[in-house]
C-alpha cells in the first residue's frame, strides 16, 4: 500500500464540522416516541360483530400461525362456525395475507406493535375486538 499526500482529500472531510450547527437526527426515546405510520403492519384486530368465522385467514397463512378457536366472547350471529382466529406471534411474519382474504374485512392489522412478556403463552394472541 502506498500512502501519498493529498491536501484536498485531507481537508475536504473538515466540512463534517458543519453538523454541529444542525439539528440531531435522533430522538430522546423513550421520552419522545416516534409516531408509527398509518397502515403499519402491527398486531391484529378483529371486529367480532363482522367476523363470519370462515377460516380463510387460517387457510392462507403459510406459517400455520392461525388457529380457529371457540371463546366466551360474543360473536356475530352470522358466524357459522362460532370460531374466531387466534394468532401465534412466534410464527406470524406480518405479511397481512390473512387481512387481504378476509371477506367482511373484519381482520385488520393495527399500528400497535409492542408486546413485552416473560410468558411464551402471551405470544399466542386472540386479536382485540374493535
Amino acid at each position: 500500500m502506498k500512502w501519498s499526500i493529498d491536501i484536498k482529500g485531507t481537508l475536504s472531510p473538515v466540512s463534517i464540522l458543519g453538523a454541529f450547527f444542525e439539528k440531531p437526527n435522533t430522538i430522546a426515546y423513550p421520552q419522545v416516541k416516534k409516531e408509527t405510520a398509518k397502515g403499519y403492519r402491527g398486531f391484529h384486530t378483529n371486529t367480532l360483530a363482522e367476523c363470519i368465522g370462515c377460516a380463510n385467514c387460517q387457510d392462507v397463512c403459510m406459517n400455520d400461525a392461525i388457529d380457529m378457536i371457540k371463546t366466551d366472547m360474543e360473536y356475530n350471529a352470522k358466524n357459522a362456525s362460532q370460531c374466531i382466529p387466534r394468532i401465534d406471534y412466534g410464527r406470524c411474519c406480518w405479511c397481512s395475507l390473512c387481512t387481504d382474504v378476509c371477506p367482511p374485512n373484519s381482520l385488520k392489522l393495527d399500528e400497535e406493535y409492542m408486546n413485552v412478556s416473560k410468558y411464551a403463552s402471551d405470544f399466542i394472541y386472540v386479536p382485540k375486538n374493535q
Binding site: 500512502w3 405510520a37 397502515g39 395475507l97
Partner: protein
C-alpha cells in the same frame, strides 16, 4: 521456539467486517493472504424448496427474505415471473409504483453499503450518517408498504396498496434533501484521503476477467463495461426514463465506490422523473383466490438490476397451484467464490472487509 511460516485464520462468520453470515478461511504469511477459501452454510433457510411446498400467493411472502438489505428486486422478480407465466399484464400505475419502490430500495441499499464500506476502514461517522439517511427512506417504506425492511408489497398482478395522500410530495422533498447530502458524502467519504489511500489499487479486476467469469453490477461497471439490465433488457417502464449507466475503468475498490456514488445520483434522477410522470389508474388487476391461482406448464427466466447487479429468477409451473421449481441467481454467488477467493490472494488482512464490502456480498443469496 520457531515462528511458524503460515498461519490459518477464520475471518467470520462473527467478524464485524464480514458482510453477513459467512466466513473466509485465510492462509497468511505475515499480513499477506496466500490463499482464501469461502465457507457458506451458516444461513441456509431453503427458500427454493420452501416455495415448492406453498401456493403461489403464499410463496410470495418468502422471497423478500432472500436479501435483507434489498428485498424488492426479489419481490419484483417473483411477480414478473408469475405474471409472465400466467399471462397477466399489470397497469401502468403499478409499473411506475414498482419503479419507485425499486429505486428507493436501491438508494437504501447503497446507503447501507456506504455504512459498511466506511466502517470497514474505521470512518464511523459516515456509517452513522448513512444509516440515519437510510432510515428516512425506510420511513417512506413504512408509510407505503406497512413494513420497514420486508415490504411484501410488489404482488403478482400489481402492488398491494395505493400511494398514501401526499406521498409523492414527501418523496420529492426527501430527494431534495438527499441531493444535498450526497455532496456532503463526497466531501467526507469519497474524496476523503483516508478512504482514497486505502481503496485505490486494492481489489483490482480486469475487464476481460470480469466478462469471462460473469461478474455483474459494480464489479463489471467498475472496470469499464457498460452493462445494466435496466438498459440492456428494460423491464417495467425503465425504457421511458432518462438515466445513464455510470462506469469507471480502474476496476479497484475506489472505482466501484465511484460507480455506486454515481448510481445514487442516477437513482435520484429516476425517482424525480417517476414522481413527475406518475400516472393515474388501478394498482392491481383482478386475481383469482390463492387456491384457484394456477400456473401453466411452462418456464421462464426473468431478471432485474439490483443495487449489486443483475438478479435473476428461473421459474417453472406445472399446471397446479404450486410452483414446480424456482431458482434464484443473485450476484453474490459468483462474487463470493470465483471473484473473492482470487481477489484476496496477495491482499493484506486488513483489506478483507474493504474488498468484501465493495462487492456487496450477501450470503442468503448464495445459500438460498
Amino acid at each position: 521456539m520457531e515462528t511458524p511460516k503460515h498461519i490459518t485464520i477464520f475471518h467470520g462468520p462473527q467478524h464485524p467486517g464480514i458482510t453477513g453470515n459467512m466466513s473466509i478461511e485465510l492462509d497468511l504469511v505475515g499480513e499477506t493472504i496466500q490463499r482464501a477459501t469461502t465457507h457458506v452454510g451458516y444461513l441456509h433457510r431453503g427458500f427454493e424448496k420452501l416455495v415448492e411446498r406453498r401456493t403461489i400467493i403464499q410463496a410470495f411472502t418468502i422471497v423478500c427474505r432472500i436479501c435483507v438489505p434489498e428485498p424488492d428486486p426479489n419481490e419484483t422478480n417473483f411477480a414478473l415471473a408469475v405474471e409472465e407465466l400466467a399471462g397477466i399484464e399489470i397497469s401502468r400505475r403499478a409499473k411506475y409504483i414498482r419503479v419507485l419502490v425499486l429505486e428507493l430500495s436501491r438508494l437504501s441499499a447503497q446507503f447501507l453499503w456506504m455504512a459498511g464500506q466506511s466502517g470497514s476502514i474505521g470512518l464511523y461517522v459516515v456509517g452513522q450518517w448513512a444509516i440515519a439517511d437510510r432510515d428516512l427512506i425506510l420511513d417512506l417504506f413504512e408509510e407505503l408498504t406497512g413494513g420497514r425492511v420486508y415490504h411484501m408489497y410488489v404482488y403478482p398482478g400489481g402492488v398491494r396498496r395505493d400511494l398514501p395522500d401526499g406521498f409523492l410530495d414527501r418523496v420529492a422533498s426527501l430527494l431534495t434533501y438527499l441531493k444535498k447530502r450526497l455532496k456532503l458524502y463526497d466531501d467526507i467519504f469519497i474524496n476523503n484521503a483516508s478512504f482514497k489511500n486505502r481503496a485505490v489499487g486494492v481489489g483490482v479486476i480486469s475487464k476481460d476477467e470480469a466478462i469471462v467469469n460473469g461478474y455483474v453490477g459494480q464489479a463489471l461497471r467498475g472496470c469499464g463495461v457498460k452493462a445494466d439490465v435496466r438498459k440492456d433488457a428494460p423491464y417495467l417502464v425503465y425504457d421511458e426514463l432518462d438515466f445513464e449507466v455510470p462506469t469507471q475503468t480502474a476496476g479497484d475498490v475506489y472505482a466501484r465506490a465511484l460507480v455506486r456514488r454515481d448510481e445514487m445520483i442516477q437513482s435520484v434522477k429516476i425517482l424525480e422523473q417517476v414522481v413527475e410522470k406518475m400516472p393515474e389508474g388501478d394498482i392491481m388487476v383482478k386475481m383469482p383466490t390463492h387456491r384457484k391461482f394456477k400456473l401453466p406448464k411452462d418456464d421462464t427466466w426473468v431478471k432485474v438490476e439490483s443495487a449489486r447487479g443483475e438478479f435473476a429468477y428461473y421459474m417453472a409451473g406445472d399446471g397446479t397451484e404450486k410452483i414446480r421449481r424456482m431458482q434464484v441467481r443473485g450476484p453474490s454467488l459468483v462474487h463470493a467464490f470465483t471473484l473473492l477467493e482470487d481477489m484476496l490472494v496477495g491482499a493484506e488482512l486488513s483489506d478483507v472487509a474493504l474488498i468484501m464490502n465493495s462487492l456487496g456480498i450477501c450470503p442468503p443469496e448464495i445459500e438460498r
